[in-house]
């Protein structure tokens, strides 16, 4: 009884996920970007997200990226809980004073080869919070950043294409 109802529900709902663009997209990357993803990470990447002091706008977009509509897992990117299991560290938000050292420790705990992605305007250049009293700087001031995604917040497709640049799928 139940399997038949499930099959009917699947047939009714159809496919919600966005169609896959052909080939790895370079959208969002400035021309002449020297980033070359490490050979070992091709195909699948464990991503550890660190909120260094964001307003949660970028987090909502990242939640959509790993949801059923934009579904980044089909390109090989997966959220992991511990930086020890991660290949890439996804940093959002401006780096506050309290989070500078934990962010450094998190990236230190990630085994090499590793990639650091800065997502959002705050992570790239402090965004609207530049000059605040609790702000230690942009992510690049604390840890070396390999790839950044501009936007406030960035579109989920932009985040997906950044991840696809790392996995190459």
């Amino acid at each position: 009884m139940i399997p038949f109802r499930l099959a009917a529900l699947i047939r009714r709902t159809g496919r919600v996920a966005e169609p896959v663009p052909a080939g790895p997209s370079t959208r969002g990357a400035p021309a002449g970007d020297p980033f070359v993803p490490p050979r070992e990470l091709a195909g699948s990447v464990g991503v550890r997200h660190v909120d260094a002091g964001s307003c949660n706008g970028c987090e909502i977009e990242i939640a959509q990226v790993f949801g059923p509509v934009y579904d980044a897992e089909r390109y090989g990117a997966r959220l992991v809980a511990s930086p020890r299991h991660a290949d890439a560290v996804l940093v959002t938000g401006v780096v506050t004073r309290n989070m500078a050292e934990p962010l450094r420790r998190t990236v230190d705990a990630t085994p090499r080869p590793r990639v650091v992605l800065a997502v959002g305007d705050c992570a790239r250049d402090c965004g609207v919070f530049a000059g605040g009293y609790g702000v230690a700087g942009a992510v690049d001031d604390v840890v070396p950043v390999d790839l950044s995604v501009p936007g406030c917040p960035p579109e989920p497709e932009a985040i997906v294409s950044a991840l696809r640049r790392v996995t190459g799928r």
Binding site: R84, E101, P102, L103
Partner: protein, 670 residues
């Protein structure tokens, strides 16, 4: 060298050790007296091995030479049989290792003249008990052992009132056991008409006499061995004694109680009725279960080891009881296997407990802490002690490659291969015994994982543990020798098992080529050496390949463990022994009856604000609290009431005398 020469050497070395202990200058005393005691122990090993191998010989000590008119029947006679030889060798080996470690360990009160001479007499007494050929010699050697050990328990009396009360409790219970043993021997000797063991063994008392003697003797020996419910002195006395002394007490003296039980059931009164085996099985199983349960929830390392001694002696007596039951039920082959298991358990426990108590002594010396909750991180600071203690923990938890594993394996084989159709008691007893042994093995594993893991692994939980340094060279030597014995008996069990079986005329124990153990009576065999080589052969290539693959990348040293971006390295954030054992305290709540006390101090302004919360949990000994304490209190009440008879008035006393004379006159003339 003949057995008589070895025994003479033993007694002489004992006297020499006492003289050295008294006369040596205090700076050299530990070295000289310790060396003398080590030689005494080695002489015991030689004598014991000769006796166990079947050598005949003896020694008759005639005080005052030919003037025996002064002391007609007090002429100690030593003539060990094969079983006695095993226990002499055991006591000698344990004594030698403890004396060796004691050279480095003894300090303060334990290194005084009293301390070392009492230790020498203690070792001598332990070695003479199994060699005794008659009741009087047995009693003399037993008392020597008991008095010397009482002195040693009280050696550090200045540390506090706890030591003194432990010493008193130990003295009272040890002499109660002595009284029971003497009473039992008196019953047997009265029937046989002579006090020599040969005469007692030859005489065939009727069922009632034998039953009464059995009850008295087993009660006495069970107290000495530390079996439930007579065990209350063990967890109080063993922790208070100095380190090398508690090792000797727990490893060897307790075995004299076991020797007594074997003497009664195997040599003096063989072929007893079924209820003897049933009683011993109940006592042994209860001791094993209760001992390991208490050990698993206690965090004082020396008390934990003392309760573990109760558990192991319970297992030995369980094996003995099963052997008696199976013998009576007509399966002598399997009974032999069980009896060999009892001896293997005794030898294994002696080696394991020596190392464990010496290790505990080293820990207490190095850190100043006795509580597991305050230790930790000692593996890096005390590597040799950690390695030896680890091997001994393997033995105590009966894990492979150790002697404890071999002994429990033999016991389980005997239990599982019992007769299919047998007496009702046997049919119930064997599965119960299997269940108890299995529960004990599981809890023992938990106990020793706790003991080793909390004490040696992770990070130090106190300043004392942080500043620990490894034990001195003599202590390390003792620890290493003991752990080598544990490993040797675990890897090459065949020759040892066959030798032990021969001493009690047990057939059906064989060896495999390569020192393995073969039990044709139950169609089982164990070859630890082959298993070890096979494991090494399959594990070593994997390990080599793994290391080589890992070396391809440069190794990166990690300073900080991942703590979610913060520093989660406070030592307070670790398991403690109490928290590790908390599930057991909850599950076995009815058997342990922990007392819990919660004190909440409120702030003055409001009852809703708490200023201080204090929680106290105490797991005491149920039998000591609910049986012994009320009994002792009642005894004191009765004594206080009886004091009213002695009111100091001369008139009352004259009245008593008058009344007594009147009663006697009436009784005589009636």
């Amino acid at each position: 060298m003949s057995l008589s020469d070895a025994l003479r050497a033993e007694v002489l070395l004992g006297a020499v050790a006492v003289v050295v202990a008294v006369l040596a200058p205090s700076r050299r005393r530990s070295v000289l007296a310790g060396a003398a005691c080590t030689l005494l122990g080695l002489a015991g090993v030689v004598a014991g091995v000769l006796a166990a191998g079947g050598a005949r010989g003896g020694l008759r000590v005639t005080p005052f030479g030919a003037a025996t008119g002064y002391l007609p029947s007090v002429a100690p006679a030593l003539a060990p049989d094969r079983l006695g030889g095993v226990f002499i060798a055991l006591a000698g080996a344990v004594g030698a290792v403890c004396a060796l470690a004691g050279i480095g360990y003894a300090h303060g009160a334990a290194a005084s003249r009293t301390g070392w001479s009492a230790f020498a007499l203690f070792l001598l007494g332990m070695q003479l008990v199994p060699a005794a050929a008659d009741v009087v010699t047995f009693a003399l050697a037993w008392e020597l052992m008991a008095l010397a050990s009482t002195v040693l328990v009280l050696a550090e009396y200045a540390r506090g009132p706890g030591v003194r009360s432990a010493g008193v409790e130990y003295a009272v219970l040890t002499h109660a056991s002595f009284g029971l043993v003497l009473a039992g021997f008196a019953v047997l000797a009265g029937h046989a008409g002579s006090t020599s063991f040969a005469a007692l063994a030859a005489a065939r008392p009727d069922d009632r006499t034998a039953g009464v003697a059995f009850v008295l003797l087993s009660a006495g020996f069970a107290t000495k061995a530390g079996l439930v419910p007579f065990h209350v002195w063990l967890p109080r006395a063993h922790p208070e004694a100095p380190g090398h002394v508690s090792a000797a007490m727990s490893a060897a003296m307790v075995k004299m109680g076991v020797y007594g039980l074997l003497l009664v059931t195997v040599r003096l009164l063989p072929g007893g009725p079924t209820w003897w085996g049933a009683v011993l099985l109940v006592v042994g199983a209860a001791s094993a279960g209760y001992g390991v349960l208490q050990a698993s929830v206690i965090s004082d390392v020396k008390r934990l080891l003392a309760y573990s001694t109760t558990e192991n002696v319970g297992l030995i007596v369980t094996a003995l009881a099963v052997a008696l039951l199976l013998d009576g039920a007509g399966s002598p082959a399997v009974a032999d296997v069980a009896l060999t298991a009892a001896l293997l358990l005794a030898v294994s426990h002696a080696a394991v407990k020596t190392v464990l108590f010496l290790g505990a002594g080293a820990i207490v010396r190095a850190t100043g802490e006795r509580d597991l909750d305050a230790l930790g991180g000692l593996e890096a600071r005390m590597p040799v002690t950690a390695a030896a203690f680890g091997v001994a923990c393997l033995g105590a938890a009966a894990l492979p490659v150790s002697s404890g594993f071999v002994a429990e394996w033999v016991l389980l084989q005997a239990l599982i291969h019992g007769p299919g159709r047998a007496h009702l008691v046997v049919a119930i007893a064997l599965p119960v015994a299997v269940a108890v042994v299995a529960l004990t093995a599981g809890l023992a594993l938990l106990t020793f994982v706790k003991a080793y893991g909390i004490a040696f692994l992770a990070r130090p939980r106190s300043v004392g543990a942080e500043q620990a340094r490894d034990a001195g060279p003599m202590m390390r030597a003792g620890l290493v020798v003991g752990s080598l014995v544990v490993l040797a008996a675990g890897i090459a069990p065949g020759p040892l098992a066959r030798a032990l079986a021969a001493t009690v005329d047990a057939h059906g124990i064989g060896t495999l080529p390569g020192w393995g153990l073969d039990l044709p009576a139950v169609q089982a065999s164990l070859d630890p050496l082959a298993l070890l080589l096979l494991t090494a052969a399959s594990a070593v290539p994997v390990a080599v390949l793994g290391v080589r693959a890992a070396r391809r990348r440069p190794r990166r040293d990690v300073e900080l463990a991942w703590g979610c971006g913060g520093v989660r390295s406070a030592a307070r954030m670790q398991y403690t022994a109490t928290s590790y054992a908390e599930p057991l305290v909850r599950v076995f709540d009815d058997a342990l009856r922990p007392s819990r006390d919660l004190q909440v101090t409120h702030a003055d302004e409001s009852r809703d604000v708490e200023r201080r919360v204090e929680f106290r949990q105490r797991v005491g000994d149920v039998i000591a609290d609910r049986v012994y304490a009320p009994a002792v209190a009642a005894l004191f009440r009765a004594s206080r009431a009886a004091r009213r008879l002695q009111n100091g008035s001369i008139h009352t006393y004259l009245g008593y005398a008058f009344g007594a004379v009147t009663v006697i006159l009436l009784a005589v003339t009636w």
